[in-house]
């Protein structure tokens, strides 16, 4: 199994998990947003799946670019440009390196450049940030992901739609953090980090 295949497996698996949890994500977003994060992501990953299913990818950069462009043009809302930017940024980085830590760090940079959220603002960054750090240290485990996700619950949102709720956003898990947790759980499961 070569390197590209593992990454493809990851995305395919991520797609399945998102579709399966569409309603859960909508539910999380209903509590503190506008209830569409599941629908948005579902629309996006289905478009990704359609594009990459059966396609041959010799270069990681082409794979990530296709994923990013599909997400950008299908998801809409806030999460579309964010996930899209992550993968487009990874596509750029993949021209230079195949290292998961380097690629994922580029992805995080893409998210932060686009959304300008700092850790602690109750967004997907609160999962991406600790996860990428752990990958860099070679110490990513499921519990790192779970803890990061759980930490968003007690945060007060100051970015995105949930910020209009102020204090009332506290007590709910952030939907984008949840979809990102799925992203990294499937990353672990697909063995992308193993070698």
């Amino acid at each position: 199994m070569d390197k590209t295949e593992k990454w493809i497996n990851w995305i395919t698996h991520f797609t399945e998990v998102i579709i399966e949890h569409k309603d859960d994500l909508n539910g999380l977003d209903s509590a503190i947003g506008d209830g569409d994060h599941g629908s948005n992501m579902d629309r996006g990953v289905k478009a990704v799946k359609e594009k990459i299913d059966g396609a041959d990818y010799d270069e990681l950069t082409d794979l990530f670019k296709d994923i990013g462009m599909r997400l950008v043009s299908k998801v809409g809302g806030a999460s579309g440009p964010l996930y899209g930017s992550a993968f487009i940024s990874m596509a750029k980085a993949a021209k230079e390196s195949q290292e998961p830590a380097v690629l994922l760090e580029a992805g995080l940079e893409g998210v932060v450049k686009r959304g300008k959220a700092d850790p602690g603002e109750k967004t997907m960054v609160d999962v991406w940030h600790p996860v990428v750090n752990s990958v860099k240290e070679g110490s990513l485990t499921q519990s790192v992901i779970d803890d990061a996700l759980e930490s968003t619950k007690e945060m007060k949102a100051t970015k995105g739609r949930a910020s209009y709720l102020g204090e009332r956003s506290i007590g709910h898990i952030d939907p984008g953090a949840q979809s990102s947790a799925y992203l990294f759980t499937t990353l672990l499961e697909a063995g992308v980090l193993d070698d």
Binding site: L82, S85, G115, G160, R161, G166
Partner: protein, 330 residues
């Protein structure tokens, strides 16, 4: 959900086709996109586009035409359009002098329009934009995604539209847009929630006698829930909030927009305007040099109204507001 629709996920497509058909003398739909463009020959003007999630009709396609927008880009209901669609809007609007985008301040909109700008620049189209954030119900941006763009956007469409069609440059329009955005203030209230057809149930709940002040045009939470009051008292609350924010003195000139949220009949909007007359023109002695009442920036079938005040900083703005247009919804 009781609505005159077919498949809920087809609602935007059906609506755009119906609109483009009904008003084929003014606009067309760019095939394969969610872009509505005006039927005007290219004439070296700066292109002016707006857009955002659907559900705010007549915004934004209703303001496409001579004297206002060159094109509008529609997203799914209450969801920002994607960069590829916005890029199509930019291309449809481009007459070689650059394209200016009117964006409402929502995280999704800002990011998607921003990406579209990057894509357009790859194709050598000059793009600039303003992010309208007129909703004074929201705390400042240290704690939130910032003030939301609401009905004040309609004044932005009109003023920039008049300027663009009169030959203003991209840089002139940018400067004008920033000035207008710094002078426009809105606040809204809801009597009953909107139902997004793709969701199928109301976005929030209000008791039989309850209203919410400060609500957003997607049903975002406001700042207080209270029992329904007479129109006069609702108007007083709006005026109190706006006065605190703007700090006007008597004689100041304003344009005013009383905007219906979608399900509130004109009867109530005119009653509300009558109370505002007493407060703004009477008590506060403001000079209301331009006035408008009706449904301009709606939230599907939400019942409620918003009030927008634009402080006139330049006499040209009044001319721009009054200049004739050929659009569906002004």
């Amino acid at each position: 959900m009781k609505k005159i629709i077919n498949q809920p996920d087809q609602v935007v497509d059906d609506m755009l086709n119906g609109l483009a058909y009904a008003y084929d003398t003014i606009v067309s739909r760019v095939p394969g996109t969610t872009v509505i463009v005006r039927n005007l020959e290219s004439d070296n003007r700066v292109g002016l586009i707006s857009g955002g999630g659907s559900g705010h009709e007549p915004s934004h396609a209703g303001f496409v035409g001579k004297g206002m927008l060159s094109a509008a880009v529609a997203g799914q209901v209450f969801t920002s359009p994607t960069p590829d669609q916005i890029l199509e809007g930019i291309k449809a609007a481009d007459e070689g002098k650059g394209v200016f985008m009117i964006v409402k301040n929502y995280t999704g909109d800002v990011m998607n329009f921003d990406m579209a700008k990057e894509l357009a620049e790859l194709e050598d189209i000059d793009v600039d934009f303003v992010v309208v954030d007129d909703d004074i119900a929201v705390e400042d941006s240290t704690f939130t995604a910032g003030r939301r763009g609401v009905a004040g956007t309609v004044f932005m469409h009109k003023i920039l539209g008049a300027a663009a069609d009169a030959g203003a440059s991209l840089q002139d329009i940018k400067t004008l847009a920033e000035k207008v955005n710094n002078s426009v203030y809105s606040i809204g209230l809801a009597l009953s929630p909107a139902t997004n057809p793709e969701v199928g149930k109301p976005g929030f709940e209000l008791e039989e006698n309850e209203i919410e002040f400060g609500i957003g045009i997607h049903g975002e939470p406001g700042y207080s829930r209270e029992t329904l009051k007479p129109s006069k008292e609702l108007a007083e609350e709006f005026v109190r909030k706006l006065k605190k924010e703007i700090g006007w003195t008597s004689g100041d000139r304003f344009a005013v927009l009383v905007n219906g949220m979608g399900a509130t009949p004109l009867m109530e909007q005119f009653v509300f305007m009558n109370d505002l007359k007493t407060l703004l023109a009477g008590d506060e002695k403001l000079d209301l040099v331009f006035k408008k009442v009706g449904d301009y920036m709606t939230a599907i079938d939400m019942a409620g109204v918003s009030l927008t005040l634009l402080k006139i900083e330049d006499d040209a703005w009044i001319d721009h507001l009054n200049s004739p247009v050929e659009v569906i919804g002004w």
